[in-house]
């Protein structure tokens, strides 16, 4: 005859072991998904930085009534002026060291005198070319410009036109 006096302790042992195993599984499983939540923070910071830089370039100096520097740059396809103004803001840091943010700029517009044909041209880029493997964020700014698109003379597309300045910004 087998003695059955330890049955309750056996059941308790098995239940406790199962609960501990499941708990350990949950804890180990949860820590591995921690990183994706945090990578967005630096992206968001870079996006705010780029948006603010474009907003500053699209602001006219206090004393003049006229076009903002960004509008003039788009109208005249002035890459060198963009390359002067944009890095000044985006690479500025407290203290002497400059930041190393890279960028490339495209302007998208509706081809004048067509219904909905989209055109775009490359406006400017930083010293390092965009290869496609960077982890870039996109910032954009709408401008209303007069002329200044490829195939657009003063008489062929009169008046104001909307254009979207898109900048890819990344840290290198």
């Amino acid at each position: 005859m087998v003695n059955d006096r330890g049955q309750l302790y056996t059941i308790e042992g098995i239940a406790a072991a199962l609960i501990l195993l499941v708990t350990a599984y949950f804890v180990v499983n949860s820590t591995s998904v921690y990183t994706p939540g945090d990578t967005h923070i630096s992206d968001m910071q870079l996006e705010v930085l780029g948006t603010d830089a474009l907003a500053m370039m699209d602001t006219m100096p206090n004393t003049t009534v006229g076009k903002s520097p960004l509008r003039q740059i788009v109208e005249q396809d002035d890459a060198s002026r963009f390359n002067t103004l944009f890095p000044k803001t985006i690479n500025a840091r407290t203290g002497g060291m400059q930041d190393d943010v890279q960028y490339t700029v495209n302007v998208t517009y509706v081809v004048p005198n067509t219904e909905s044909s989209i055109g775009s041209f490359h406006l400017a880029n930083s010293s390092r070319p965009f290869t496609g493997t960077e982890h870039a964020v996109r910032v954009s700014r709408w401008v209303l410009v007069e002329g200044g698109f490829p195939g657009c003379s003063a008489t062929s597309c009169q008046g104001k036109h909307a254009a979207l300045v898109e900048v890819l910004v990344w840290r290198d």
């Binding site: 309750l8 501990l20 992206d43 509706v110 989209i118 954009s140 008046g159 979207l164």
Partner: protein
Amino acid sequence: MARLNDDAQWIVLMGFIVSFSLFFLAILINQSTVVGQTTAEAVSEFPKNDIRGVRGALIESTLLDDESLFQNKTTVQDEIKILALSRQNAVVNISSVTIGEYTYTEIHYNNGVTGYNETYTYP
């Protein structure tokens, strides 16, 4: 449980209670990471700057008019709609009505995930 010694029932019960509380704590830790990730994704997917840009451009376009040769309001607004659809995957619409001395301009933005509607009163 005939003839079984049941003196230790409280110990067994406490064992179960502690185990289950550990279990629920683990679930809480597990959920917190998911919550953090979905919140960050929602924040970065929310097209705050796109909406601001479209809104600013549309409001600026309402200050133009159609009468003069160099002020093509309708063209600019159509261009904004086309460009927003092609570059930002968003449907944009604008319509205005003037009642009395006020002009009410309705601005709509929808990219399938986020919708934004505003009535802008001018002056």
